[in-house]
């Protein structure tokens, strides 16, 4: 029995496990994962059976598949036993405890804390989406399986979008570059494509194509058609064709007015993606979104308990729930879209981070043995 445990906690096996994890990670960045599989199949229709096999082996969802989780569990277990033994050994040693022992203990326990934090997130965590209109108050948010209840009320007092172009950004730009950015409804960038005419790209099951590109967009009042007033990039606009599931939509995107998308079709047919046409020009009229902010009020039983203006990178947290500014509704600037996260594992993970950094610094710099016996069989050698 103890022989088995010795084998399971041997450094050799552990290093092998680390190696396997590293190889699995590499595979996870090379093989199409999750939603990318669909995209891949579209490009290579003949690959269905290969993809099925990969899927069966967990290779199309490596980071969440059973054997990857198993490897992490195994690592945690052997790490716990190994760390415990070493530390016990160090405590019993006649020469007493050294800083290095503590550093090594810290750097290993920290790893366990971080992994424990991830487990806590996957068990008790929630991740959802909350669209709010100015003046509105809600107590629920959307999650994958439906709605989750908040233990308080959340109210949107104000929403604002700022664009580049104010004079503080004068130093920017001496060249011109442009692109189309594809976002999901949480405001996360999922793809980028060139703004060249005829440039096409598939994003998941959606096929995109640039139909027209107009430097100075105006609608000709006589004909009702779109024309360019000049060759200058005064009002760059781009028409995108969106083909999804057999239906074709077109949409105008304006670099200067990222929120103002002219849909040729409204309502249910709207694609599940947002688009931004980004142009960086020299002239100082810098388009593109600089910032967007929501002023949120937390209420309990109708009474205000907390108020904060959030923006990307500056979320609001209350009672374990964190509200992130994730996007805005391009059709209507009175709406904000928030991401709501409840992650009870974060304190564990952050404690682990701190502990690992302190531990490593102790091992390497407080009581270092890096220059001692640099040739052949170290004094730490346990093999």
């Amino acid at each position: 029995m103890s022989g088995l445990i010795n084998f399971l906690t041997s450094l050799k096996l552990t290093l092998t496990v680390l190696l396997v994890i590293a190889v699995a990670c590499i595979a996870g960045t090379v093989l199409p994962q999750g939603a990318d599989v669909l995209k891949y199949l579209e490009a290579n229709p003949g690959a269905q059976s290969q993809m099925d096999l990969l899927g069966f082996l967990g290779l199309t969802n490596i980071f969440y598949c059973w054997w990857f989780i198993f490897l992490l569990c195994f690592l945690s277990l052997s790490l716990s036993i190994c760390t415990f033994r070493r530390f016990r050994g160090a405590l019993r040693r006649k020469s007493g405890l050294r800083w290095k022992d503590l550093g090594s203990l810290f750097s290993h326990i920290s790893l366990l804390l971080i992994l424990a934090g991830c487990v806590a997130r996957s068990i008790w965590g929630l991740n959802g989406y909350l669209p709010l209109r100015e003046g509105e108050t809600k107590t629920k948010f959307q999650v994958e399986t439906g709605f989750a209840e908040l233990p308080f009320e959340i109210h949107l007092e104000d929403f604002e979008i700022e664009f580049y172009g104010s004079d503080e950004d004068e130093h920017v730009q001496d060249s011109l570059s442009e692109k189309v950015v594809v976002l999901n409804h949480d405001g996360q960038v999922v793809a980028e494509m060139s703004s060249e005419l005829d440039a096409g790209q598939a994003v998941g099951p959606v096929q995109l194509k640039v139909l027209k590109r107009i430097p100075d967009f105006v609608v000709d009042t006589a004909t009702g058609g779109v024309v360019s007033r000049s060759e200058e990039m005064h009002n760059p606009a781009l028409q995108l064709e969106i083909v999804e599931g057999g239906t074709t939509n077109t949409q105008w995107l304006f670099a200067l007015y990222p929120g103002f998308n002219m849909h040729n079709k409204e309502g249910a047919d709207r694609p599940h993606l947002d688009f931004r046409y980004e142009v960086y020009v020299h002239s100082g009229s810098e388009p593109g979104v600089k910032d967007y902010k929501s002023t949120l009020v937390v209420k309990e039983d109708g009474v205000e308990v907390k108020k904060k203006t959030i923006e990307v990178n500056r979320p609001l947290s209350y009672k374990g729930y964190t509200f992130y500014q994730s996007g805005f509704n391009p059709d209507d600037h009175k709406w904000t879209s928030l991401q709501v996260v409840k992650d009870p594992g974060v304190p564990l993970v952050y404690a682990g981070f701190l502990m690992m950094i302190i531990g490593l610094a102790m091992v390497f710099y407080v009581d270092p043995n890096l220059s001692v016996d640099s040739h052949g069989g170290g004094k730490n050698s346990i093999e």
Binding site: C25, K290, N313, V341
Partner: protein, 263 residues
């Protein structure tokens, strides 16, 4: 401002030339001159980075050009710190060459200052990029030491025992330094992601590759300090680690897509 860049580039070129002279003429004074030039180069590069920082109103670490300049800076800084241990002309020459190539590569990207998308406007980002690159700087120096070690270990090599010994020590010290800062870099990146997106880890290719790099160097440290691996074996691990660094830095940008594709 661009003059400051050109001056630093020129100084790095001078350092490279001096280093090559040093290969032929092994006198101590040549090495000292080269070291002095490198110090000037770091100073000039620091001035450039600070000027750019002030002009942009944010840390200049957010695109390929800026990060390559930072990379050159960290390589030089780490080199200056280990110089006492490693007064080998061949190492100096290899490092100078690496710095010059890095800066030359930087000039192929636009040097204009761009505004940042909201997600990038964060102090965590500054700390994240800076610490990651300090780590990369450490790994780069370790890589050069490792390559030199492998070359010095060939049968017909005349390399002295002490030479190999100091290469060995520098190789491990710089990995330890790099590992500490890569760890801080990955962790501050996670904190930043959590404050921007509500998740500290999302398995995007750059994150995943930084983990791979981290695991390789964790392997290096355990093999060297616990299993007592020395010499060529650990040199090859350092080389493997640096290949992983390069892939994390360049390969992911050009071959794989993800959240980090702007850098």
């Amino acid at each position: 401002m661009i003059t400051a860049f050109n001056i630093s580039f020129a100084l790095c070129l001078v350092a490279l030339i001096v280093a090559f002279v040093g290969l032929l003429n092994k006198r101590e004074i040549v090495g000292r001159i080269g070291f002095g030039v490198n110090i000037l180069a770091v100073a000039a590069l620091t001035v450039y980075i600070v000027m750019r920082w002030m002009a942009a109103g944010r840390a200049p670490f957010s695109n390929m050009f800026e990060s390559l300049v930072l990379f050159a800076w960290t390589i030089l800084v780490v080199y200056i710190f280990v110089y006492k241990k490693l007064k080998l002309p061949i190492v100096t020459a290899a490092l100078s060459l690496m710095v010059v190539l890095t800066l030359a590569y930087a000039t192929t990207f636009g040097a204009d200052i761009r505004p940042l998308v909201p997600a990038l406007q964060s102090n965590w980002l500054t700390v994240h990029v800076f610490t990651c690159f300090l780590g990369y700087g450490g790994f780069a120096v370790s890589f050069i030491a490792a390559i030199s070690y492998v070359i010095a270990s060939r049968e017909n090599s005349k390399a002295a025992y002490e030479t190999k010994d100091s290469l060995e020590v520098v190789m491990a010290k710089t990995v330890a330094f790099g590992f500490l800062f890569l760890t801080v870099g990955i962790m501050t990146g996670a904190v930043w992601a959590n404050s921007a997106w509500g998740t500290y880890w999302s398995w995007d290719p750059k994150e995943t590759w930084s983990l791979v790099t981290w695991l390789v160097y964790a392997g290096f440290l355990h093999c060297r300090f616990i299993k007592g691996w020395r010499g060529q074996k650990s040199a090859w691990m350092s080389i493997l680690g640096f290949i992983s660094v390069l892939f994390t830095y360049f390969g992911v940008n050009f071959l794989l897509k993800g959240l980090h594709s702007y850098l």
